[in-house]
């Protein structure tokens, strides 16, 4: 009898598994690294953004005091009443006050005019940081006379020098210095609303403090002794709220600025995450092919007694190691890239950002990289468990289907779960993170479906009448082990990204340009006093300009909604009205008809008020939706002290894109005619020159009137979009680079797939040129189809965005899209051919023996 068998369960032998993983990876390491390099740029993006985020948080914490410039600031958009002022005067050891408002200023030297933000300041504000000026002393000196500090962009724009003068309202000020930076100011805010500081004592003299002017009253307080400002202000909160005063402390500013930057970095890290996912799809596809090539080796190992778990672990160790290396390289690259981020974001940052190495960000990036590369590689890896040792005797590809493992569903669940959880940490909302995951899934699905459709079409279209080279190149798109889907997804997604960005930017700019050049209104004048209405219209006609519209504007507030005031609404959680509704000021108009840009969608428009009844008002649909207002609601308005009871009788849509004076609330004729009011006027200026002359005349004669020139808005918008575009391009750059890496990896994988075939062709006498042509054609089709798919998706995406998000007519530039299409196609062919060169330069025998 044979000796009784004893099969004690042997240990996993982890050390040996590591050794086998190391040995097995020989000759494959560069390939493995190439696969995993697809995640490098995604990790780099995330680590860079995270590092930037951590640094910004730290810097906001350190510099919060200079953001606000004082220990406490209190703001009101109406004059503070005497009793409240008494209370405010008890705050702080040192006090400053400021009035800020939009107004035109006039540069006498060059006859230039411009809408700016005037800040009339009294006191030593800012107590933390300084008004950064050139010369430095100007920041404090300007308060000692009729002197002004003018924003550096304005100084450059109007070629003004220190020592020149500007006219604000009726007063001429000497430019004491160039304002380089005010507390909390960003490059972007300086571009949109450049600041001019004047001493507060001359404000009344300017004549700009008229009824209806939109003025912000700011009070700044500094404590010289230790005071818990947060605690102090909490005690004052009810009183401040009642008087509609807002406050800001260093802590609240820290929190708000920190939060908005945290939101920004979270959003950007999601963009980086998309690049990472893209890379991971590349990794999964590459590992799938890698494992397929390893079937024979795995079968031999199984034959020799390696258990399925051991075989699985050998390859898992390889993936974890290479994932770890890829992630570390990505993290290192990200840490370097973060040095660039302050440059990219400089116009949006109110603080100086440091670029310290963030170990936290690096750790998170590396962990994320390893987890995600393993998760995606698991799909092909789990199939290793099912590779039979029988393959040593008879290799049967049919019996080795790497995708038919039921465990793959668990892996899919893990991947989806991971994406949802990761995006939850970025978005802080489960519905949003689920929506993000579904969005990603749909994008990938669309690209995959299109790729499948193209492969099917390729099969259908291929014809025997084509030359052999064309047939061969075209057929490679759908033959086994093709790279069509992965390339289509990666290159398509990258192309779609950049094209959509480009289309939207040019559509927005074009939309404004069109408004600026047609005969519709392109200049709006506001803050016109009733007495100035007629003479200003006369002046406009003198310049041969049309008075397109003159509308009255009445400033109001809301007292109650359905009988409930701010305090009651705040207490009653069942009412879905934001308390802010009561804090805001509403500029309303009155008329008896609707304008062409308005359309009633609910209720009935009533143009005339009836005596004794509640005043019928019309509200804008989005305003109604936001505040859960409906037909039949009762709103009591406070029209400069007088209560006016109204009834919502109609809800209307407003096309805000038309240059028109549009309003959230429209009163009927016959109610507000006697209320304090000002006018807004629309005109059309045919050219820059006429605009400049007309503006000068208006500012000279009516210094309180402000003008917005659409041409100027256009240039600001263009600049803003350019700056935003830079950030988006920078971020989408990661996806594009990932796409290119996936492309290189895919082409290199397909090189191994095509190698035998090319060698066979060569042994049968095919020339180098013929093999090159076959490869070039394959990559031409792949590149062109991927780029075309991406461009088409960009067209569709831009159309959807234009229609539903921006509400502007869709138009897309075909020429630049064609340029992107050509560039991507050429890039694919170039990379493809560069990789094929290796095969052509080696003797066929060397390849047949498997030495490559």
């Amino acid at each position: 009898m044979p000796e009784p068998y004893q099969l004690e369960k042997p240990p996993l032998k982890l050390g040996w598994l590591f050794e086998m993983a190391w040995r097995d990876s020989r000759k494959n390491r560069s390939r493995l690294f190439l696969f995993i390099s697809a995640i490098i740029f995604g990790i780099a993006a995330i680590v860079a953004i995270y590092s930037f985020g951590y640094n910004v948080k730290k810097d906001v914490d350190n510099q919060a005091a200079t953001l606000i410039g004082a220990d406490l600031s209190i703001t009101s958009n109406k004059p503070v009443d005497a009793s409240m002022l008494q209370t405010l005067n008890t705050l702080g050891d040192r006090r400053s006050q400021e009035r800020s408002f939009a107004s035109m200023i006039y540069f006498p030297k060059g006859n230039g005019t411009r809408l700016v933000q005037v800040r009339a300041l009294q006191g030593e504000f800012p107590y933390y940081g300084s008004l950064e000026t050139t010369p430095i002393t100007a920041g404090t000196d300007f308060k000692n006379g009729k002197k002004a500090l003018v924003d550096q962009t304005l100084m450059l724009q109007f070629n003004a020098q220190v020592g020149d003068s500007i006219k604000v309202g009726s007063v001429t000020f000497l430019i004491a210095g160039t304002l380089n930076k005010a507390p909390g100011q960003t490059g972007i805010s300086a571009g949109i609303a450049p600041i001019v500081y004047i001493p507060l004592q001359y404000l009344t003299e300017t004549g700009l403090m008229q009824k209806g002017s939109r003025i912000s009253y700011n009070y700044y307080y500094k404590y010289d002794h230790d005071v818990n400002v947060t605690k102090l202000i909490k005690g004052l909160e009810p009183k401040l709220e009642k008087a509609n005063l807002n406050y800001d402390t260093i802590d609240t500013r820290k929190e708000n600025t920190g939060r908005s930057f945290a939101d920004l970095t979270k959003f950007l890290s999601l963009v980086g995450f998309i690049a990472l996912l893209l890379g991971c799809v590349g990794v999964a596809s590459a590992i799938h092919i890698y494992i397929r090539e390893k079937i024979a080796s795995i079968a031999i190992m199984r034959c020799l007694g390696v258990r399925s778990t051991q075989a699985f672990l050998i390859y898992l160790i390889q993936i974890i190691s290479i994932g770890l290396i890829g992630s570390i390289i990505g993290a290192a690259l990200g840490s370097l890239i973060q040095y660039l981020l302050p440059l990219v974001f400089k116009d949006f940052l109110p603080i100086t950002v440091t670029t310290d190495l963030s170990w936290m960000a690096i750790g998170q990036g590396v962990l994320l990289g390893v987890i995600i590369s393993v998760l995606f590689a698991l799909l092909p890896l789990i199939a290793i468990r099912n590779i039979s040792p029988l393959n040593t005797l008879r290799m049967s590809y049919e019996s080795v289907n790497l995708l038919r493992d039921p465990l793959r569903w668990l892996v899919y669940v893990l991947i989806v779960g991971f994406i949802v959880v990761f995006s939850y940490f970025q978005l802080d909302s489960w519905p949003a993170s689920i929506a993000f995951t579904i969005g990603i899934f749909i994008a990938f699905l669309i690209l995959t479906l299109i790729a499948k459709l193209l492969m099917w079409l390729a099969k259908l279209l291929i014809s025997n009448s084509w030359s052999y080279l064309w047939r061969q190149g075209f057929a490679n798109l759908y033959r086994p082990n093709n790279q069509t889907i992965i390339l289509m997804v990666s290159i398509g997604l990258s192309t779609a990204f950049i094209c959509t960005l480009f289309f939207i930017q040019s559509m927005l700019v074009r939309q404004v340009s069109v408004s600026a050049t047609t005969n519709t209104a392109n200049m709006i004048l506001f803050d016109i006093q009733p007495t100035q209405k007629q003479p200003l219209a006369g002046l406009t006609t003198q310049y041969h300009l049309p008075v397109i519209q003159q509308v009255p504007v009445v400033t109001t507030r809301i007292n109650t909604i359905n009988g409930k005031n701010a305090a009651q609404v705040k207490k009653d959680t069942t009412i879905q009205v934001s308390p802010h509704v009561f804090a805001n000021e509403y500029r309303v108009t009155y008329r008896d008809t609707l304008t062409p840009t308005e359309k009633v969608i609910d209720g009935e428009w009533q143009g005339k008020a009836k005596d004794g009844a509640e005043v019928p008002v019309s509200i804008e649909d989005r305003f109604a939706k936001r505040n859960h207002l409906k037909i039949g609601d009762h709103i009591e308005f406070n029209v400069q002290g007088s209560p006016v009871k109204t009834l919502v009788t109609s809800i209307r849509t407003v096309n805000w894109n038309k240059m028109q004076t549009n309003f959230l609330v429209v009163f009927p004729a016959g109610v507000l005619e006697d209320a304090p009011q000002f006018y807004a006027m629309l005109t059309h200026v045919p050219s820059k020159e006429v605009s400049a002359k007309y503006q000068q005349a208006v500012v000279k004669q009516y210094p309180n009137v402000s003008l917005i020139d659409l041409g100027q808005v256009l240039s600001i918008l263009d600049e803003l979009l350019d700056k935003l575009g830079d950030i988006i391009k920078f971020m989408s750059g990661f996806s594009i680079i990932t796409g290119i890496v996936v492309l290189i990896a895919s082409v290199r994988i397909s090189k191994y797939q095509r190698i035998q075939e090319s060698v066979l062709l060569r042994t049968m006498g095919a020339s180098r040129r013929q093999i090159l042509v076959i490869s070039a054609l394959e990559y031409l089709f792949l590149g062109a189809l991927s780029a075309l798919t991406g461009t088409l998706i960009a067209f569709a995406g831009s159309w959807l965005l234009a229609k539903f998000s921006f509400d502007i007519p869709f138009s897309a530039d075909v020429l630049p899209a064609g340029g992107i299409f050509l560039a991507i196609t050429l890039l694919t062919i170039t990379i493809g051919l560069l990789n094929s060169r290796g095969i052509l330069n080696k003797p066929p025998l060397e390849i047949l023996r498997g030495d490559v």
Binding site: M1, P2, Y5, P10, I300, G305, L390, T392
Partner: protein, 230 residues
């Protein structure tokens, strides 16, 4: 004599295009310990399938495979892997060396799996026996076909198997190399006292064994002893 391998009522069927394909039909035989045996038959007769079942590389559709007293039919693939590691050696027609491992490492793998010590010296000794002591650091692609098969032989004997299965061991070799490899197989087999089961359609090779089992159309058609003595 003891039986190292016992096959009873063994059948293997496949489902193909909706019909059942019988590759092996009711095979019965036993192999005594230390004997040399050949399974011969024309291409497609089912001899490689039979070898796969005997060595525990595959599961039968019905019947019994007992290797060293162990019924392989009830075992999981992992358990069978363990049986293979402990009792079985393999030689394949296409050598089946792990391409990323050197010749020496290929020989060491079965020993490493068993967790044995001082394996390097033993592996080198085996390589020396097949005449490749100097080529231990070479990769399979750097070796000729005959050299690869000799490494494969050294690997097969490294775990001191009780039974050695060889699938067309000379199928990919020229006549001269074949002869050298066959001699090595039998010499090493004799020295180690291993049972040999060789699948071949090379009748010259078969004639060197003590017993020839003929398979045709999935059925055992003859089972003859030769004149070779143990």
């Amino acid at each position: 004599m003891e039986n190292i391998l016992h096959i009873a009522d063994l059948s293997k069927t496949y489902q193909s295009a909706g019909r059942t394909l019988t590759v092996l039909d009711n095979i019965n035989f036993s192999v005594t310990t230390g004997s040399t045996n050949a399974i011969v038959g024309p291409s497609g007769s089912g001899k490689t399938t039979l070898l796969g079942l005997c060595a525990g590389l595959d599961r039968s559709s019905s019947g019994l495979v007992e290797l060293n007293g162990i019924n392989l039919g009830n075992m999981s693939e992992d358990k069978r892997a363990q049986v293979r590691n402990q009792y079985v050696g393999f030689i394949f027609q296409n050598f089946q060396l792990l391409p990323t491992l050197t010749a020496l490492e290929n020989v060491m793998v079965p020993l490493e799996l068993r967790g044995e010590r001082n394996i390097r010296a033993r592996a080198l000794d085996l390589l020396d026996k097949v005449g490749l002591a100097e080529r231990g650091h070479h990769y399979p692609t750097q070796l000729s076909g005959g050299e690869q098969q000799r490494v494969s032989l050294a690997r097969a004997f490294s775990n001191q198997p009780k039974i050695l299965f060889a699938d067309e061991p000379t199928g990919n070799l020229d006549a001269e190399t074949s002869e050298k490899v066959i001699k090595l197989i039998f010499d090493l087999n004799k020295e180690a006292g291993t049972t040999l089961v060789v699948v071949t359609h090379d009748l010259e090779l078969a004639a060197k064994t003590q017993r020839i089992i003929r398979i045709k159309g999935g059925k055992l058609v003859s089972d003859e002893k030769t004149n070779i003595n143990a």
